[in-house]
C-alpha cells in the first residue's frame, strides 16, 4: 500500500477519527510515498478511516488508526495470551480472542520433538507469539522467540487472568512504564504478563495482592496518569 504523497503530515494526526473521515487528500500531495496501517483505506484519491480511534503518524510516512477494542485482530510478532481449547495430532487449538482459532504446532517449543510433546489440558493458559497472521488462514503461534529459545513463552501456572481491551494492553506495555504499574510495583511484588490481545495475567504471593493489582489495572483504563496514582493509593490504603 504505497502511494505518492507529500511529506506533510495530515492535520488529523493525533486526533480522533471516525469511519468515513477523509484523512488525506492525495491530489493535494506532491510526489511522496506513504504507508498505510490498520484502520485506513484508499478510496480513489483519498485516504479514509474505517475504524474509530486516534490517527497516528510515524516518521517518515506511516499512518495508522489506533483504537481500543475487545476483540483482537492477529498480527505477526504480537505477544498474546491464549487459552488451549482442544488438542489435535499436529496442533493445539488456542483461543486468542481473534476471529478464528489459532494453531500452535505441537513442535513449536524449545527443543520440541515428536517425543516430548507437552500435555496441555483444555483451559491451559499460554503466553505465545503470533508467527503468521494471514487473512483466510488460521493464525499460527509459537512458544519460541525468533532464535528458537523459550525466553519466557509457554504455560502460565496459577495466578489470575482477566480480559480487558487492546488499548489497555498497549497502555500497560508502553514505555515509560504507566503510572499504575509503577506505583503498584513499588508497593507490592507481583508477576504480570500482558498480551496484546487484551488479556492480562497477574500472579503474586497472596491472593489479596493479586486481586488488588487486577482491580487496579481494570479501573485504570479510562483514567489519566494523575487519576491512576490517586486510585491506586486509595486502594492500597484500604487494604492496609
Amino acid at each position: 500500500m504505497e502511494k505518492k504523497a507529500a511529506a506533510l503530515p495530515s492535520k488529523f494526526v493525533d486526533q480522533l477519527v471516525v469511519p468515513g473521515d477523509v484523512v488525506l487528500d492525495l491530489t493535494t500531495l506532491a510526489n511522496s510515498t506513504i504507508k498505510l496501517g490498520g484502520g485506513l483505506r484508499q478510496e480513489c484519491d483519498t485516504i479514509t478511516a474505517m475504524k474509530a480511534g486516534v490517527l497516528r503518524f510515524a516518521k517518515p510516512n506511516k499512518y495508522w488508526v489506533e483504537s481500543s477494542q475487545k476483540r483482537y485482530v492477529p498480527c505477526a510478532e504480537d505477544h498474546v495470551l491464549g487459552i488451549v481449547v482442544d488438542t489435535k495430532a499436529d496442533n493445539f487449538l488456542v483461543d486468542i480472542k481473534g476471529p478464528a482459532i489459532a494453531f500452535l504446532p505441537v513442535l513449536a517449543f524449545e527443543g520440541g520433538t515428536r517425543r516430548n510433546i507437552p500435555k496441555f489440558e483444555v483451559g491451559t493458559l499460554l503466553y505465545v507469539r503470533v508467527v503468521k497472521a494471514n487473512t483466510g488462514m488460521n493464525p499460527e503461534l509459537s512458544c519460541m522467540d525468533a532464535n528458537g529459545k523459550a525466553s519466557g513463552f509457554g504455560i502460565l501456572k496459577d495466578g489470575y487472568m482477566f480480559e480487558s481491551s487492546t488499548g489497555l494492553s498497549r497502555m500497560l506495555l508502553s514505555s515509560p512504564t504507566c503510572p499504575v504499574l509503577e506505583i503498584l510495583g513499588k508497593k507490592l511484588s507481583f508477576e504480570i504478563a500482558v498480551g496484546l490481545n487484551g488479556r492480562v495475567w497477574v500472579n503474586g504471593a497472596s491472593p489479596s495482592s493479586v486481586i488488588l493489582v487486577a482491580n487496579a489495572i481494570m479501573n485504570s483504563e479510562t483514567l489519566s496518569g494523575a487519576q491512576q496514582r490517586i486510585m491506586v493509593e486509595k486502594l492500597l490504603q484500604r487494604v492496609q
Binding site: L125, D158, Y160, P207, L212
Partner: protein
C-alpha cells in the same frame, strides 16, 4: 465445530483455581466479601410499569402490561399474573435466539413461584366482572447483559415494575350492572396494583469446598460454582420460595444459615426498592399532564363482546 470453539466464552484453568483458592480465605476476585451484593441501581422508564435494574454488570429490564380477559374457569373472581422471560443472544453468546432455553424457563419459574404462589399481588382486586372480565397482568423480563446472578436482578426488576404499574380504573354501569367503562388516565387517576408484600430473591453459590458460600455470584463465579440456592423472602421473615435445583449437596444447617442471611439481605433490598419507587412517584406527580378523551362504554353480553372489550382494554393501556 471449529466455529463453535471460536465463539464460546471459556475460562482458563488458572482462573478456576484462583477463584476457588482465594475464596478459601474469604476473598472474591472483584474485591467483595462473601456476603456483599454488587452495586444496585434501579431506574424507571417514562411510562408506568417499566424498570431497568443494574446489578454490577448484570442488566435487566422489566415491563408490566395489563389486559382485560375472561378469567380462568376454575378461578372466576381472580385476575392473573404471568411472567415471561427473554434471554437475548445480545446478553451472552451462550443464549440462543428463539425458544426459551432451560435456564430462561427456570428463571421464569423461580420468579413466578416467588411472586404468584406467595400471593404477593392481590389478584382478587383485579376482577372487574365475576366470571367475565378480569385484568391479566403480564410481566416481561428482558435480560440485556449477563454479568451473573440473573435471578436476583430479574426479580428486583419485576418488583420495581409491578410497584410502578398503574391500570386504568374501571367502573360498572348500565341497568344490569354489566356494562364496563374503562376510564382513561385523564379522566380518572389510574390505580396501582395492590401489593401485599415484596418477595426478594437472594442467590447463594456453593463451591466444591464445603464451607465456602457466597452471595450474588458474578458470571465468572457462576462458571466455577457447583451449586446454587435461591431463597425468596419478604421483610416479615416469611420464606416465599426456595430453589436449589440439584448440584452439590450442602448440610441442612448451611441451608438454614443461608435463609437467615437472606432475610437480612431481603430487608436491605426491600428498602432500596421502596426508596427508588418513592422517588419515581414524586417525579411522576410533577410530570402530570392533562389530556382529553372520552370514556368508552362497552356492554358485555356474550363471549364475542368480551373479546372485543379485552382488545379495547389492551389498546387503552398501550396509549
Amino acid at each position: 465445530m471449529e466455529q463453535r470453539l471460536a465463539n464460546t466464552w471459556r475460562m482458563s484453568v488458572n482462573d478456576k483455581k484462583f477463584i476457588e483458592s482465594s475464596l478459601l480465605s474469604d476473598l472474591r476476585v472483584d474485591g467483595r466479601r462473601p456476603f456483599d451484593y454488587r452495586k444496585l441501581s434501579i431506574k424507571f422508564g417514562r411510562e408506568d410499569g417499566s424498570s431497568e435494574v443494574q446489578l454490577g454488570e448484570t442488566h435487566v429490564m422489566g415491563f408490566v402490561t395489563g389486559q382485560l380477559v375472561p378469567p380462568y374457569r376454575d378461578r372466576p373472581n381472580e385476575g392473573s399474573l404471568a411472567i415471561y422471560t427473554e434471554f437475548s443472544p445480545m446478553a451472552d453468546p451462550s443464549f440462543e435466539a428463539g425458544r426459551p432455553g432451560e435456564n430462561a424457563v427456570e428463571l421464569g419459574r423461580i420468579i413466578d413461584r416467588g411472586l404468584r404462589e406467595s400471593r404477593a399481588i392481590d389478584t382478587e382486586s383485579l376482577c372487574i366482572l365475576s366470571g367475565k372480565l378480569v385484568w391479566s397482568i403480564r410481566v416481561d423480563l428482558h435480560i440485556l447483559d449477563n454479568g451473573g446472578n440473573l435471578v436476583d436482578a430479574a426479580n428486583i426488576a419485576a418488583l420495581a415494575a409491578l410497584l410502578t404499574f398503574r391500570r386504568p380504573e374501571c367502573t360498572l354501569s348500565g341497568d344490569d350492572g354489566q356494562e364496563v367503562i374503562v376510564h382513561s388516565a385523564e379522566e380518572r387517576e389510574p390505580l396501582p396494583l395492590i401489593v401485599h408484600h415484596l418477595p426478594v430473591a437472594v442467590t447463594f453459590a456453593f463451591f466444591s469446598n464445603d464451607n465456602v458460600v457466597v452471595i450474588d455470584p458474578t458470571h465468572k463465579e457462576e462458571a466455577v460454582m457447583k451449586g446454587r440456592l435461591t431463597a425468596t423472602l419478604n421483610t416479615n421473615g416469611d420464606v416465599c420460595a426456595i430453589q436449589k435445583g440439584g448440584g452439590i449437596g450442602v448440610l441442612q444447617s448451611v441451608v438454614l444459615q443461608c435463609l437467615r442471611i437472606a432475610s437480612v439481605k431481603a430487608a436491605d433490598m426491600t428498602s432500596k426498592i421502596k426508596d427508588a419507587v418513592e422517588s419515581y412517584n414524586t417525579v411522576r406527580a410533577f410530570r402530570k399532564v392533562k389530556r382529553h378523551s372520552a370514556p368508552i362504554a362497552v356492554s358485555v353480553d356474550g363471549s364475542v363482546a368480551i373479546k372485543k372489550q379485552s382488545q379495547d382494554g389492551a389498546q387503552k393501556i398501550e396509549l
